[in-house]
Amino acid sequence: MIRALFTHFLRSFRNRKSWMALYLSSSVFGVTGLFLLFTLKAGIDGSLQERSQYFLTADISVSARRLFTEEEKSTITRLIAPYIKDSSQALDLLSMIRVSADRSRLVDLSGVEPSYPLHGKILLEGGAPASRLRGNEIVIDSDLRDQLALKIGDTVRVGDLDWKVAGVISEDTSSVWKGLSIAPSAFVSRDFLAKSSLIKTGSTLTERFFYRLKRPDDADDVARMIRESSQDSGIRVTTYKSSNEQLTRTMDYLADYLGLLATISFLMAFVGTLYLVQTERARVRFEMALLRTLGLKPRSVLSLIWIESAGLSLLMTMISWLLVRVMSVPIFGWIAHQMGVKIQAQISGGIFLAAFAFSFFTYGVSMYLLLRRELNFPLSSLLSGSSGRSELSKPRWWDVLAGALFIFALAIGVSHSYRLGIAFTAALLVAGGFFALVFAAICRALPVGLNERGAFQILALHLTRNRLSQGIAFGTLSFGALLLFLIPGLSVNFRDELRAPDTEGMPSLFLFDIQPEQVEGIRNFLKGTPHRFESLSPMIRARLEKVNGKPVEPPKGSDSQFKSREEQEEERTRNRGYNLTYRSELFGSEKIVRGRHTKPLYDSSRGELPEITVEKKFAERLGVGLGDTLEFDVQSVPITGKIVGVRSIRWTSFQPNFFVQFQPGVLEEAPKTFLATVESASADTELATLQSKLIDPFPNVSVISVRTMISKITGVFAQMELAIQLSAAFVLFSGLLVFFSIIRLQAADRVSEIQLLKVLGGSIRQVRAIVLGEALFIGLVAVLLGCLLSVVFTEVIVQVAFSRSAIVPVGQLAIFGLGAFSALSLVSGIAFGAALSRRPSQLLDSSSGQV
């Protein structure tokens, strides 16, 4: 039976080539987008898995943002000694490196031992290992060499010490995606660094211990043993298996958002498929009824649908595979260049199967949902000559629910985020509902009969009496237009967010690691200069111990199962130590969104808990709100605060912003450092000079040029934006193909009708006005609606992301609108032009009973 059905499918395929070509061309890019995404993710994971030991430089690393105590060190050593083959240590901190009065730079300084790295290699130009350092030798990143115009043998100042440049790093297998690092790397001897004055209490440093195991597969067990031996959640234990998860978090986010674009492309193809499939209803109705009269069981009729789905999906997947093979070379090459990681385009059997499954379910689901009632067409109608309903049946509510659940599952699966999945599905449903309402209103407003002279009525009647099929066409065009207009809107606002001018209070320099006794010194240093010392904020390191009296569970460690973004963020929230601060007034970058700001001063005589305010998203991740309490361990002193307010923060303000703020009068005695900003209207060269001048009197203070940082981030995001725009262009192209397919099919569907209208007296001009007029009318309304809704969506997204109103790029939207409408007009003209030019004599040869 299956063989017979398959033979029938092949014959059907042979005779429906043009329909098949339309289906394949409109859907292939949707499937290709998903295919490409799966392949990209697999390639990244594969490359990183392979190199994960290199990234970590060991099998296990144990680290903390402080110096380990001797007890901690000996406990760990005792526990894991039987498993260890090699070990190494490192100290990492951010510090300023200065060459001259006007040349200085923030550097990511690592003090390492000769045995570092235990896996991989860090080599200098010339091939020597970077870690064999003696005394005050320093080896630097090539970026640093170029920025500070350094050469081997030069002397640089780091902290209060002079260091001699002993080499330039040419290969570092431990580095990944340097694009977003705030400082280039430099290596010094760990022993020498530990004895220098750079290591002060409160300095932002990380101490790391690296271990190579006798058997790398023991990594998870060894990691568990170390975690269980310490109650300090600030001690982080990382295995090589999990290191790539952390290292590629940013890449994962990019992949997830690209995945959403791929999902949109796929969904547009899905909607296009719905439209294409519904044009098959007459054939399906007749053919399946006939097959049933010839002996086919109803169940077997359904099998035919699934066989057809499988056959077409296989073909679709193979075409997509070919396209991915071609496209992956330049795309992966570009990403590899940006990430500094070689990515193999691995199209595994699993990926092929996943792409096939998506395609199969899309076609199969569409066929089944739209045509299942046609499958039950009464066989007796074949004899009576009745051809059944001409218009689709309305979907039932559970059809819509099934479709919504499918989209929801797809969005979550691709974005790895419940929040994003819900938001995406909700946005699609809102947009779909809006488009449906508008379409229904248009149909109600149009005339219901041939009341007046002119071609307009036939246009109107074709629209209003084929509501479902025309509604699907309208919906597809509207969604495509929405996406088209969303991209420039979001791009403009995103770019604007990162290019805020200084006049809006953006600082020029950001200072941290300021010791308390240095505050007045810096203030006096800047007095009398055009630079203002602002936003002075104390920073106290602490660990979150309890929420509402219940201890915070330490993280369970990573595993390979699906974890949503929300779960990952919640785990990180429980994992981190926190920087606390206290201030009496809010900065300009923050505002209270719930509750109130803390009272100016804590009064312990009242017997109340100190007041704190928390950042909005931090509160959401922890699941806390007004009235809840958080207990922190501040250098072994437990301090509990009660939440009285929730703040929203404009993180791109580059002000010292904190998740948790105490009221003054609580933390003043705690060990702390200070953060501050320097605001200045001076030129970049003057700021560079200031930066260098600060090093001598304040050697441990780190300075970041905000302008340089913004420029760097803008550059990186420009590249990410390029990736997003390319993906969006891909989506738009696939959308245009869907449009073209729909319009082509509409034209093909109406060939006989067009000929009949000409036969009955309509001139070409009149008939063209009817058919083209409808297509352009739908297209124009879709473009306008898409533009309008995109402005609304952009406003919502920008409000959520940046807490401000969106900029509406009117000019760009107008150009896009004109372009979209022109493309639609061109496509419609071509599609209907062919139909208009055909001779009406074919009507005398037609074998169907209807037009």
Binding site: L450, E753, K758, G761, Q850, V851
Partner: protein
Amino acid sequence: MSWKNLKVRTLQKKFRQGNNEITVLKNIDLDLDAGKSAAILGKSGSGKTTLLSILAGLEPADAGSVLWDDTEILRLSEDKLNPLRSRKVGIVFQQFHLIPYLTALENIELPTLWESGGERKASAREWLERVGLGDRADHFPNQLSGGEKQRVAIARALVNRPGLVLADEPSGNLDEETGTRVMDLLFEQCVKSGSSLVLVTHDQDLARRCDHVWWLEHGQFR
């Protein structure tokens, strides 16, 4: 409607199939005066439908002329020919060819859409009554039987009171009884409206009802 005659002179039509050229019609001449009827008979493939297509202005000819009321139609552009056709010629197809999303009444109104006139709807409704479907005005084609569809098609062909009606095997898709009733209706209404009728048919009994019978064989009238 004023209609004098249909004239055809030395009509020729060839079709190309690959490298072969097939002459379908050779030097066809015919005359049909106003109010007269004619049947075109012939075997399958004899060129009947091709001839009807050319007479209706749906297909060009390779040589010769077709005159509707002394107007040569083969040289006219579609922009001029189509409106002329709607006024002067009505066509009844074997396959009915009704637009599925228009009601019976709206399908009949179609030929009148291109001209002004407040009588349009009244005329269409009148013809719907004449063909006995006055109570089916708001029904769609898929709600009508084959015979009813053909009656709507006949009404549509006659709504503008054309001088010439061309019918391509109008009962070909109907059972004998229905076909007979449909043909009776067609003849009756053509007579009443004074329209000439050219009928392509296999049915010799039907052909005998016409004023003229033209046998088409090997592209020529016998």
